[in-house]
């Protein structure tokens, strides 16, 4: 195909993509340099907003907390994720296939739900806390401390490290390790001099990713940091309104810009790391069978560590939610049999907004997910086999939303839906939430689409061109049919991601735009624990359905 072919559909796709990305981002930037909300006629340009937050001690505490938590997460998640990847790709650990599936569950459960799960299981009067109190006479932990937040966040981000390091270990040809053995290195020397340095780029990438995710953490610190008043940057931003009592959009925008100032370089660093890792891609060669390291008696030790991790990150929070959803109340001296009830679910079904939230969540996952995949495909195809400027521009602009945490993107879209003519009317429709979700997850979706497109050899399309098919016909007759399965798989993954999303909808929450995720944030703020428990369980069930379908059809759970 020609290097720089101009076509109207392609240009339109690129233009629309640019608008939905740059408009909200631009709005945040502009707003941050005003001294009042931009719709306030009194506003003037200046640095007043920055001056205000930089003088606020809470801002700096929150900033420091964000960095401490993010760093703590890296320290915890990196060695565990790498060890898990090693165990699952290079050793004869039993039950590998089941563990591989279980490992990914924390990725798909909403952090809001997980955080709530830890509160009801391990909080001061949580199910397991009281159990521990019965056994040892005291609750030996405090989930509300900064260290606890970092530990919980770290353990729930182990899968991210696992994904990247296992991919690196799988692509590491056994021949380079064998070559080291032959020249005289023992297995430990092989690990230290060859395997580890060669997986280093992946580990470094994973470390940057986890730090980045830690920096934009919202649900966990919102729920777990609240009782002891610990703020991180995102929760500081969220609480700004309460702090001043008036919508202080300019201050929120200034905090948002500060967050993006940290996350955007991290995204660029990730991209650079991914690119420079290319030189470590081992020489082609024949695929030799990987020899698995026999663990011998150690396999049970390894298996128990993995099992402990799975219990802590999946069983504990989810069992807590499941229990809490079926009891009226919980505390010391309460007998489980006395408080069992279905009232929590009745409570949800009595509230029209909560029922709407469930329906909207379903719609946004199924129809919205399908539409999002269609949009991502259109963007992917616009850059497909293009070597010119268009592809380069697309390559970078789809990265930008990656740097904007969902909470901020939701805020920016709120402003757009409040004040931009013609789209104002859509403010109270679920479309606003869908658009924000689709933009926030653009980078993720594009990775799914491009990995599907990468499966097609260029000669398949080129041969169609040579036998006389136009660009459009090639698309319709060759490209799309070939990525069909990849698109369906992407739809399923986007469904799960959209079911799980919560922070993006927070500011967009209103009559008609309720989704379970933002509803949980709002209900948690209002202290409606019963309904939070019931909705959390429903949310878990929705994600579980997606997960079950994905497993049934053998969809790879990561890009």
């Amino acid at each position: 195909m020609t290097a720089r072919s101009f076509s109207i559909p392609r240009t339109a796709v690129v233009a629309v993509t640019a608008v939905v990305i740059f408009l909200p981002l631009g709005l945040i930037f502009w707003q941050s340099f005003l001294n009042a909300p931009f719709f306030n006629p009194e506003h003037r340009v200046g640095l007043a907003a920055y001056a205000f937050i930089f003088e606020d001690a809470d801002f700096w505490t929150a900033f420091l907390n964000s960095i401490l938590i993010a760093a703590g997460m890296v320290i915890i998640a990196l060695p565990l994720g790498a060890a898990l990847a090693f165990l699952l790709t290079r050793t004869d650990l039993p039950a590998q296939r089941s563990i591989e599936v279980l490992v990914l569950i924390p990725v798909f459960v909403s952090p809001m739900v997980l955080a709530f799960g830890y509160v009801v299981s391990m909080g001061p009067v949580g199910f397991y806390s009281l159990l521990a109190k019965d056994l040892v006479g005291d609750v030996p932990w405090n989930v509300y401390s900064l260290a606890s937040i970092a530990v919980i966040a770290g353990l729930t981000h182990v899968p991210h490290v696992y994904l990247y390091s296992s991919a690196a270990l799988k692509s590491l040809g056994s021949d380079v390790e064998e070559a080291a053995r032959v020249v005289g290195a023992n297995p430990l020397q092989v690990a230290m001099n060859v395997s580890l340095p060669m997986t280093m780029p992946a580990l470094f990438y994973a470390a940057v990713l986890v730090f980045f995710l830690g920096f934009e953490l919202f649900g966990l610190p919102l729920v777990l940091g609240d009782p002891e008043g610990r703020l991180v940057l995102s929760t500081y931003l969220y609480k700004l309104t309460n702090k001043l009592g008036t919508p202080s959009y300019h201050l929120m925008a200034a905090v948002a810009v500060c967050i993006v100032a940290v996350t955007f370089p991290l995204v660029l660093l990730q991209r650079w790391l991914l690119k420079s890792a290319g030189k470590y891609v081992s020489v082609k060669g024949k695929a030799t069978r990987q020899k698995l390291l026999p663990l011998g008696g150690w396999k049970w030790v390894a298996l128990s560590i993995v099992a402990l991790w799975l219990i802590f990150t999946i069983v504990v929070p989810i069992s807590g939610i499941a229990l809490r959803a079926f009891v009226e109340q919980w505390g010391e001296g309460i007998n489980l049999a006395d408080v069992v009830t279905l009232d929590n679910f009745r409570g949800v079904s009595d509230q029209s907004d909560q029922v709407r939230a469930i329906i909207n969540t379903l719609l946004i996952g199924t129809i919205g997910g399908g539409l999002a995949v269609a949009c991502y495909t259109a963007i992917g195809l616009a850059g497909h086999r293009q070597r010119g400027g268009v592809a380069r521009i697309l390559d970078y602009i789809v990265l930008i939303p990656r740097a904007i945490p969902g909470l901020l993107a939701g805020l920016a879209f709120l402003w757009i839906f409040l004040f931009v003519p013609f789209v104002k009317e859509l403010r109270n429709s679920i479309f606003s939430v869908w658009l924000a979700y689709s933009v926030v997850w653009l980078a993720y979706g594009m990775r799914l689409i491009s990995s599907a497109l990468l499966q097609i050899g260029p000669e398949l399309e080129e041969s169609a061109r040579t036998v006389g098919a136009s660009n459009a016909r090639v698309l319709k007759d060759v490209t799309l049919p070939l990525i069909r399965f990849g698109l369906l798989a992407s739809w399923l993954l986007v469904f799960m991601i959209f079911e799980r999303e919560y922070s993006t909808g927070v500011y967009l929450l209103g009559q008609g735009t309720e989704v379970i995720g933002s509803m949980l944030v709002s209900l948690w703020g209002a202290g409606a624990i019963d309904q939070v428990a019931a909705l959390s369980l429903i949310n878990i069930a929705l994600v579980a359905v997606g997960l079950a379908v994905a497993l049934r059809f053998g969809v790879r759970l990561h890009e």
Partner: protein
């Protein structure tokens, strides 16, 4: 290989993956200073044999030793770890470490043998210079061409003077289009000795001359060189000679293996031993010329003999009818025609 006076001896090596036997009792000896080529069709077990010697595959039985050092002994349950075998192995994929420079790739084996830094530097530079790589020592493998990568892999295997250097497909990168047949010619030109491997067994071993001039089996005969094949039936056997009979022709040849009258057999003769004769005579067949090709230094002709096609070099005389002579001493008659795999003919 080098000065060490140790022989590499492999005895009765047997190796299987699951139920699939790859090596079925391979025995061979490599003498000091000898260049030995291992030939065989793809899937014949060449790579597996090299890897088993290096210790990267676990044989099921047999014995491998270099001089007095036993590398593997199935009966005595001895299995020296790979890194203790002190061998050089050049991988087919080269397996250069992408995170180390050319220098560091080559130096690694010396550093593991704790040579002092100056010695390492000197020996690595010597090895790189010998292979024409001295200007590239600070490059990373991905900055090299395929041929350069291969030479780094060779330098890496030679630098610590292992008693035996094993090379897996060392000619594969010289010309990717080099076919197995052509590699057989190269192996003959380069090696002191050739081992021909066929489905996990050594089919025949010997000097290139022995392999070419006195093949013991039809497989050996056909693996090297260009041949005419004449399937037929044994009509007569007289002390070491046999008469092969086909559709309208009878030829005397040298019997290979046990032949009895009535056996199904195949006559094999090298193309260059097949001659255009000027008329009827002993061991000659009457053929029709189908076509001829100009090859530069000579002409190759294709003849028809009943349903058979025969080829030979030389200038044909007038007309399309030709007499070909297949000298008795060069026409080998092998019993029981073997199914030949198409990928090496």
């Amino acid at each position: 290989m080098n000065k060490s006076a140790n022989k590499l001896v492999v005895e009765g090596l047997y190796l299987q993956y699951g139920d699939n036997p790859i090596l079925k009792g391979v025995s061979l000896t490599l003498n000091p200073g000898e260049v030995v080529a291992l030939l065989g069709a793809s899937g014949s077990g060449k790579t597996t044999l090299l890897r088993a010697v290096a210790g990267l595959e676990q044989p099921n039985e047999g014995r491998i030793a270099i001089g007095a050092t036993v590398l593997y002994d199935g009966a005595a349950k001895v299995e020296l770890p790979v890194e203790k075998r002190n061998l050089g192995l050049v991988f087919q994929s080269y397996a250069l470490w992408p995170h180390r420079t050319v220098f560091e790739n080559v130096a690694y084996g010396l550093r593991l043998r704790s040579k002092d830094a100056g010695d390492v530097e000197r020996r690595v530079h010597e090895a790189l210079t010998n292979l024409g790589l001295s200007a590239l020592s600070q490059r990373l493998p991905h900055q090299l061409s395929g041929g350069q990568q291969q030479r780094v892999a060779i330098a890496r295997a030679l630098v610590y003077n292992p008693p035996v250097v094993l090379m897996d497909e060392p000619l594969s990168n010289l010309d990717a289009k080099l076919r197995e047949e052509a590699r057989a010619w190269l192996a003959m030109a380069m090696s002191d000795r050739i081992l021909l491997l066929n489905y996990g067994r050594i089919e025949q071993q010997g000097t290139p001359e022995e392999m070419y001039d006195r093949p013991q089996t039809q497989f050996s005969a056909e693996f090297m060189g260009s041949n005419n094949q004449l399937p037929g039936k044994v009509a007569q056997v007289v002390d070491g000679r046999a008469m092969l009979e086909g559709d309208g022709w009878r030829l005397w040849g040298t019997a290979r293996g046990n032949l009895k009258t009535g056996d199904v057999a195949t006559g094999v003769i090298r193309l260059e031993r097949t001659r255009i004769a000027n008329g009827e005579g002993d061991n000659r067949v009457r053929t029709e010329l189908i076509t001829d090709m100009f090859l530069g230094d000579r002409r190759e002709n294709l003849f028809q003999l009943g349903a058979l096609r025969l080829r030979c070099y030389g200038k044909t005389t007038n007309g399309t009818t030709c007499w070909l002579e297949l000298p008795q001493e060069h026409l080998w008659i092998f019993a029981r025609p073997q199914e030949l795999r198409s990928d090496h003919v």
